[in-house]
Protein backbone atom coordinates (compact mmCIF):
# COMPACT_ATOMS: atom_id res chain seq x y z
CA UNK A 1 0.00 0.00 0.00
CA UNK A 2 1.25 3.47 -0.88
CA UNK A 3 1.52 5.90 2.00
CA UNK A 4 2.00 9.06 -0.03
CA UNK A 5 0.14 9.15 -3.33
CA UNK A 6 0.45 11.88 -5.95
CA UNK A 7 -2.73 13.43 -4.58
CA UNK A 8 -1.19 13.68 -1.10
CA UNK A 9 2.12 14.87 -2.58
CA UNK A 10 0.32 17.77 -4.24
CA UNK A 11 -1.34 18.58 -0.92
CA UNK A 12 2.10 18.68 0.72
CA UNK A 13 3.31 21.02 -2.03
CA UNK A 14 0.34 23.29 -1.39
CA UNK A 15 0.68 23.06 2.38
CA UNK A 16 4.36 23.98 2.33
CA UNK A 17 3.76 26.61 -0.37
CA UNK A 18 6.52 24.99 -2.38
CA UNK A 19 7.57 26.39 -5.74
CA UNK A 20 7.40 23.79 -8.48
CA UNK A 21 10.10 23.87 -11.15
CA UNK A 22 8.49 22.38 -14.26
CA UNK A 23 10.64 20.27 -16.53
CA UNK A 24 9.26 19.60 -19.98
CA UNK A 25 9.28 16.01 -21.20
CA UNK A 26 10.98 14.77 -18.04
CA UNK A 27 9.50 12.27 -15.57
CA UNK A 28 9.76 14.67 -12.61
CA UNK A 29 9.12 18.26 -11.62
CA UNK A 30 11.12 19.59 -8.70
CA UNK A 31 9.28 21.12 -5.73
CA UNK A 32 11.32 23.59 -3.67
CA UNK A 33 10.32 24.74 -0.21
CA UNK A 34 11.41 28.24 0.79
CA UNK A 35 11.66 29.90 4.18
CA UNK A 36 12.82 33.51 4.63
CA UNK A 37 13.86 33.58 0.99
CA UNK A 38 16.06 30.48 1.26
CA UNK A 39 15.43 27.05 -0.12
CA UNK A 40 15.30 24.67 2.80
CA UNK A 41 14.11 21.47 1.11
CA UNK A 42 13.38 20.05 -2.30
CA UNK A 43 11.86 16.88 -3.65
CA UNK A 44 10.82 15.28 -6.91
CA UNK A 45 7.19 15.20 -8.06
CA UNK A 46 6.37 12.47 -10.52
CA UNK A 47 4.57 13.65 -13.60
CA UNK A 48 1.53 11.70 -14.64
CA UNK A 49 -2.20 11.87 -14.35
CA UNK A 50 -2.63 8.94 -11.96
CA UNK A 51 -3.79 10.15 -8.58
CA UNK A 52 -2.29 7.19 -6.75
CA UNK A 53 1.19 7.39 -8.27
CA UNK A 54 3.61 6.46 -5.48
CA UNK A 55 5.47 9.29 -3.74
CA UNK A 56 6.67 7.52 -0.61
CA UNK A 57 10.13 9.01 -1.19
CA UNK A 58 8.91 12.46 -0.12
CA UNK A 59 8.99 11.53 3.56
CA UNK A 60 12.75 10.87 3.27
CA UNK A 61 13.32 14.13 1.37
CA UNK A 62 11.57 16.05 4.12
CA UNK A 63 13.31 14.15 6.94
CA UNK A 64 9.96 12.88 8.20
CA UNK A 65 8.67 9.40 8.92
CA UNK A 66 6.11 8.10 6.40
CA UNK A 67 3.28 8.44 8.89
CA UNK A 68 4.15 12.05 9.75
CA UNK A 69 4.44 12.92 6.07
CA UNK A 70 0.94 11.56 5.51
CA UNK A 71 -0.35 13.51 8.50
CA UNK A 72 1.29 16.64 7.09
CA UNK A 73 -0.68 16.18 3.86
CA UNK A 74 -3.92 15.54 5.72
CA UNK A 75 -3.52 18.31 8.31
CA UNK A 76 -6.27 20.92 7.89
CA UNK A 77 -4.03 23.77 9.11
CA UNK A 78 -2.23 26.03 6.65
CA UNK A 79 1.48 26.78 6.83
CA UNK A 80 0.86 30.18 8.48
CA UNK A 81 -1.50 28.71 11.07
Amino acid sequence: MRIITKELALKIVKKLEAQVVSRDKKPHDIAMVFHNGRCIAQFGLRRGSEKDLGHDHISRDLHLGPHKARLLAQCPLTRDQ
Binding site: P27, Q42, G44, G54, D56, P66
Partner: protein, 183 residues
Protein backbone atom coordinates in the same frame (compact mmCIF):
# COMPACT_ATOMS: atom_id res chain seq x y z
CA UNK B 1 -20.03 -52.25 16.11
CA UNK B 2 -22.22 -53.05 19.11
CA UNK B 3 -20.50 -53.46 22.52
CA UNK B 4 -20.93 -56.87 24.15
CA UNK B 5 -21.09 -57.16 27.96
CA UNK B 6 -20.55 -60.11 30.25
CA UNK B 7 -20.61 -59.34 33.94
CA UNK B 8 -18.09 -56.53 34.54
CA UNK B 9 -16.36 -57.12 31.23
CA UNK B 10 -17.22 -55.09 28.11
CA UNK B 11 -15.77 -55.68 24.63
CA UNK B 12 -16.07 -53.01 22.02
CA UNK B 13 -15.79 -54.04 18.38
CA UNK B 14 -12.39 -55.70 18.41
CA UNK B 15 -13.35 -59.33 18.07
CA UNK B 16 -12.16 -61.52 15.25
CA UNK B 17 -9.28 -59.10 14.52
CA UNK B 18 -5.78 -58.99 15.91
CA UNK B 19 -5.53 -56.23 18.50
CA UNK B 20 -3.16 -54.86 21.11
CA UNK B 21 -5.27 -56.55 23.75
CA UNK B 22 -4.27 -59.97 22.43
CA UNK B 23 -0.66 -59.52 23.50
CA UNK B 24 -1.58 -58.72 27.06
CA UNK B 25 -1.25 -61.62 29.52
CA UNK B 26 -4.65 -62.72 30.78
CA UNK B 27 -6.44 -61.64 27.59
CA UNK B 28 -4.70 -64.07 25.30
CA UNK B 29 -7.44 -66.66 25.41
CA UNK B 30 -10.13 -64.09 24.59
CA UNK B 31 -8.85 -63.39 21.04
CA UNK B 32 -9.56 -64.03 18.33
CA UNK B 33 -13.16 -64.71 19.25
CA UNK B 34 -16.55 -64.08 17.77
CA UNK B 35 -19.35 -62.25 19.56
CA UNK B 36 -21.10 -65.62 19.97
CA UNK B 37 -18.06 -67.14 21.66
CA UNK B 38 -17.80 -64.24 24.08
CA UNK B 39 -21.12 -65.15 25.54
CA UNK B 40 -19.60 -68.46 26.66
CA UNK B 41 -16.07 -67.42 27.56
CA UNK B 42 -15.02 -67.17 31.17
CA UNK B 43 -12.44 -64.40 31.72
CA UNK B 44 -8.98 -65.62 32.71
CA UNK B 45 -7.67 -65.23 36.21
CA UNK B 46 -6.09 -61.84 36.93
CA UNK B 47 -7.86 -60.03 34.07
CA UNK B 48 -8.40 -56.97 36.24
CA UNK B 49 -4.65 -56.35 36.59
CA UNK B 50 -4.23 -56.89 32.88
CA UNK B 51 -7.03 -54.44 32.13
CA UNK B 52 -5.42 -51.86 34.39
CA UNK B 53 -2.13 -52.36 32.61
CA UNK B 54 -3.78 -52.00 29.21
CA UNK B 55 -5.60 -48.85 30.28
CA UNK B 56 -2.36 -47.50 31.70
CA UNK B 57 -0.61 -48.17 28.41
CA UNK B 58 -3.48 -46.59 26.53
CA UNK B 59 -3.39 -43.52 28.74
CA UNK B 60 0.37 -43.21 28.14
CA UNK B 61 -0.10 -43.52 24.38
CA UNK B 62 -2.88 -40.89 24.38
CA UNK B 63 -0.76 -38.59 26.54
CA UNK B 64 2.28 -38.99 24.27
CA UNK B 65 0.23 -38.35 21.12
CA UNK B 66 -1.45 -35.32 22.66
CA UNK B 67 1.94 -33.91 23.65
CA UNK B 68 3.26 -34.55 20.14
CA UNK B 69 0.25 -32.85 18.57
CA UNK B 70 0.62 -29.84 20.87
CA UNK B 71 4.29 -29.59 19.94
CA UNK B 72 3.35 -29.76 16.26
CA UNK B 73 0.78 -26.98 16.68
CA UNK B 74 3.35 -24.82 18.49
CA UNK B 75 5.99 -25.56 15.83
CA UNK B 76 3.52 -24.74 13.07
CA UNK B 77 2.79 -21.38 14.68
CA UNK B 78 6.52 -20.65 15.00
CA UNK B 79 7.16 -21.59 11.37
CA UNK B 80 4.39 -19.21 10.23
CA UNK B 81 5.86 -16.47 12.43
CA UNK B 82 9.34 -17.05 11.00
CA UNK B 83 8.01 -17.07 7.42
CA UNK B 84 6.33 -13.74 8.04
CA UNK B 85 9.55 -12.31 9.55
CA UNK B 86 11.54 -13.64 6.59
CA UNK B 87 9.16 -11.92 4.16
CA UNK B 88 9.65 -8.67 6.06
CA UNK B 89 13.43 -9.04 5.89
CA UNK B 90 13.25 -9.82 2.16
CA UNK B 91 11.03 -6.81 1.56
CA UNK B 92 13.27 -4.48 3.52
CA UNK B 93 16.47 -5.80 2.07
CA UNK B 94 18.39 -3.03 0.38
CA UNK B 95 20.17 -3.46 -2.91
CA UNK B 96 23.13 -1.24 -3.73
CA UNK B 97 23.32 -0.38 -7.41
CA UNK B 98 26.16 1.73 -8.79
CA UNK B 99 25.04 4.34 -11.30
CA UNK B 100 27.80 4.44 -13.90
CA UNK B 101 26.16 6.65 -16.49
CA UNK B 102 23.41 9.20 -16.83
CA UNK B 103 23.36 9.30 -20.62
CA UNK B 104 21.71 10.74 -22.67
CA UNK B 105 21.58 13.73 -20.30
CA UNK B 106 24.21 16.40 -21.07
CA UNK B 107 26.09 15.73 -17.81
CA UNK B 108 29.36 14.06 -17.03
CA UNK B 109 29.50 11.64 -14.12
CA UNK B 110 32.73 12.27 -12.21
CA UNK B 111 32.42 9.10 -10.12
CA UNK B 112 29.83 6.33 -9.81
CA UNK B 113 26.86 7.08 -7.59
CA UNK B 114 25.95 4.31 -5.16
CA UNK B 115 22.17 4.10 -5.20
CA UNK B 116 20.34 2.11 -2.56
CA UNK B 117 17.06 0.54 -3.66
CA UNK B 118 14.56 -0.69 -1.09
CA UNK B 119 11.02 -1.95 -1.31
CA UNK B 120 8.39 0.25 0.28
CA UNK B 121 4.92 -1.28 0.18
CA UNK B 122 3.95 -1.77 -3.46
CA UNK B 123 6.74 0.48 -4.71
CA UNK B 124 10.51 0.69 -4.60
CA UNK B 125 12.46 3.69 -3.39
CA UNK B 126 15.88 4.45 -4.82
CA UNK B 127 18.07 6.72 -2.71
CA UNK B 128 21.31 8.60 -3.16
CA UNK B 129 22.05 8.73 0.54
CA UNK B 130 25.03 11.13 0.45
CA UNK B 131 22.84 13.83 -1.08
CA UNK B 132 19.57 12.68 0.50
CA UNK B 133 17.82 12.38 -2.83
CA UNK B 134 15.11 9.81 -3.33
CA UNK B 135 12.69 8.62 -5.98
CA UNK B 136 9.90 6.07 -6.17
CA UNK B 137 9.06 3.55 -8.85
CA UNK B 138 6.96 0.46 -9.28
CA UNK B 139 10.05 -1.64 -10.03
CA UNK B 140 13.70 -1.34 -9.01
CA UNK B 141 14.60 -0.28 -12.54
CA UNK B 142 11.92 2.40 -12.63
CA UNK B 143 12.93 3.70 -9.20
CA UNK B 144 16.56 3.86 -10.35
CA UNK B 145 15.67 5.66 -13.59
CA UNK B 146 13.53 8.10 -11.59
CA UNK B 147 16.41 8.70 -9.18
CA UNK B 148 18.68 9.65 -12.06
CA UNK B 149 16.05 12.11 -13.26
CA UNK B 150 15.59 13.59 -9.78
CA UNK B 151 19.36 13.94 -9.34
CA UNK B 152 19.67 15.85 -12.61
CA UNK B 153 16.54 17.91 -12.01
CA UNK B 154 17.63 18.82 -8.49
CA UNK B 155 21.17 19.66 -9.65
CA UNK B 156 19.84 22.07 -12.25
CA UNK B 157 17.28 23.60 -9.88
CA UNK B 158 19.79 24.02 -7.03
CA UNK B 159 22.49 25.44 -9.34
CA UNK B 160 19.99 28.04 -10.52
CA UNK B 161 19.49 29.43 -7.02
CA UNK B 162 22.87 28.53 -5.50
CA UNK B 163 23.01 31.87 -3.61
CA UNK B 164 19.63 31.28 -1.93
CA UNK B 165 20.11 27.85 -0.42
CA UNK B 166 19.59 26.87 3.18
CA UNK B 167 22.02 24.47 4.88
CA UNK B 168 20.32 21.26 3.69
CA UNK B 169 20.08 22.03 -0.04
CA UNK B 170 23.52 23.73 0.10
CA UNK B 171 25.01 20.48 1.33
CA UNK B 172 23.08 18.55 -1.33
CA UNK B 173 24.48 20.78 -4.06
CA UNK B 174 28.02 20.44 -2.70
CA UNK B 175 27.70 16.64 -2.82
CA UNK B 176 26.19 16.71 -6.32
CA UNK B 177 29.07 18.86 -7.57
CA UNK B 178 31.46 16.09 -6.55
CA UNK B 179 29.58 13.61 -8.70
CA UNK B 180 28.22 15.62 -11.61
CA UNK B 181 29.50 18.17 -14.06
CA UNK B 182 27.60 19.78 -16.86
CA UNK B 183 29.00 18.33 -20.07
Amino acid sequence: MKPISRGNLTFVGRFGEPSEFQTTPGWAQCSPVTPFQVEHTVPAEGWEDAAKQVLGNLARIVHTRTQTELKLVALNARVKCLESALDDVRNRAAVVVPIQSIAPEPFELLQPIQAVVQQSGEDHIASFLDANMNASGETQEEALANLKDVIIGSFEALEAIADRLGPGPKSQLAVLREFLKKG
